[in-house]
């Protein structure tokens, strides 16, 4: 069964071009089969990740290298986007709050928005675009040029070396990037507040920290681990099983990685909100 599922995935991109439809144009049941085979395939991939992750040898050097490439190399992009995000959100929110005479609440409102929702989701989407596509394209390229096969014959478990390290790095680097991005976003907000007003740095941040609660910060950071895991895993899945025989396989793998990872970010976010609501009730 597992073999069939993996065979299915290896050939899936060939079949994408010829989605089976019956004469009336209604998508036939084989599309559902394909969907469930795909779900089963990614489930097996995920289970394999956990199995390989706990099994030695542990690729510490590669893990460190990937953490540097995935985390450190994304800092500038996250910093710029987060700063703009904080700044724009503040500028856009000011008139509405001013209407209700609640302009003084601007730092708190922006902080809660950024920390609870906008920061994690936007940074995760940027991360999916940069890191998810990068991983997908890199592994697909390695697959096409037989580098993964070469690793296998060199006494190296390619899954452990390539997939486990990248997924773990993505899982732990995204929360750090989100914390960094949130901080920069708040700095952007501080700059925006001071464009029209005059609020001191200490007043701005003390107002924010006084209003923030543990349940504003903790769940928001916790969900970013899941975002990072999903982005890393989907990128690796699309690259690792990229079909060698198809045209533009690297581009397709990168594209699929971004699309599905971005989608998963929203799905996980929705689930996180539901779970959080349950706890709060």
């Amino acid at each position: 069964m597992k073999k069939r599922i993996l065979e299915h995935f290896k050939n899936r991109k060939d079949k994408e071009e010829t989605i089976p439809k019956n004469n009336s144009g209604i998508i036939s049941h084989s599309v559902f089969n394909k969907f469930f085979l795909e779900v089963a395939s990614i489930t097996i991939f995920t289970l394999r990740f956990f199995k390989e992750a706990i099994k030695p040898p542990y690729e510490i050097n590669e893990l460190m290298k990937q953490s540097f490439l995935i985390g450190f190399k994304s800092l500038s992009l996250v910093a710029v986007t987060s700063f703009i995000l904080g700044l724009v959100l503040t500028v856009q929110s000011r008139p509405t709050l001013a209407k209700f005479g609640a302009e003084s609440m601007l730092p708190v409102m922006v902080a809660v928005s950024i920390i609870r929702e906008i920061g994690p989701v936007i940074i995760a989407l940027i991360f999916a675009g940069k890191v998810g596509s990068g991983i997908g394209a890199e592994l697909a390229s390695m697959n096409v040029t037989e580098q993964i096969d070469a690793m296998q014959v060199s006494h190296t478990n390619p899954f452990n070396y390539l997939v486990v390290t990248r997924v773990i790095s993505a899982t732990f680097m995204l929360p750090l990037l989100v914390i960094f991005g949130d901080t920069i976003g708040l700095l952007g907000s501080y700059v925006a507040v001071n464009i029209k007003g005059n609020v001191s740095f200490s007043l701005f941040f003390s107002q924010i920290f006084q209003s923030l609660e543990f349940m504003d910060v903790f769940p928001a950071i916790l969900k970013t681990f899941f975002f990072g895991f999903a982005i890393g895993l989907i990128g690796c899945y699309n690259g690792y099983y990229a079909n060698k025989g198809t045209e533009g396989v690297v581009g397709k793998a990168a594209n699929s990685a971004v699309v599905y990872a971005s989608l998963m970010v929203f799905v996980i976010d929705m689930m996180a909100v539901q779970i959080l609501t349950l706890f709060q009730n």
Binding site: E146, H155, T156
Partner: protein, 259 residues
Amino acid sequence: MTNIKTSIKTEKSSNPNGEIVVEMEHLKKSFENNNVLLDINLVLNKKENLVILGKSGTGKSVLIKCIVGLVEHDEGKLKLFGQSISELKEKELTNLRRKIGFLFQSGALYDSMTVRENLEFPLKRQLISISKKEINTLVEEALENVGLSDTIELSPSELSGGMRKRLGLARTLILKPEIMLYDEPTTGLDPITSKEISKLIIEVQEKYNTSSIIITHDIECAKLTANRMIVIKDGICAAEGLYKDLESSSDKWVKSFFE
């Protein structure tokens, strides 16, 4: 003597040692509904260069990937050094792979690493207790063997096609394998570089006493390197013999390779 039958059984006696390192019997492999290998019978004797000829898409690469365990065969027997690989556990297969070198069609160099790191990679993975000094010596020696000493700090993207092939060969040979598997070693190269690679294959056989399977449809490479040849057609071994026997074969299809 050229044999042309439905599926021939290859001879074991082309070298005096007669020691078999690879043996296949009725090997079959298919991908979904595509039957790639229907009935492959072959043996590779020790210190022998066996060339496998065949048109593109006849499953030649799949055949050698079965040998190294990258592709799992469906039916038939496949023995390496007398051990049936389908009965081996993952760890045993990994250990057995240490004795096998595989030169991939594309060279399969790691793009994210330099030439030095490409050569260090298999050493660090397989010889865990090796010192940095020993690694350096082996790397420099391997590069010297293939005439690429001055490329040590370059990245693979800075190398030409022939250099990439030679570097792939150096990376494979650094662990001194007993069996070498060459997947179309001269494809995409100009005639002069092809000849250089073919000569290198012979040098490897003489220097390291390797047994080799060379997959190719380059007849010049086959002529230079082959001790014995097998022709694959429609998933079966259609003919076997020495180069000169196959060249003068009465079978039109076999002869067409040599024209």
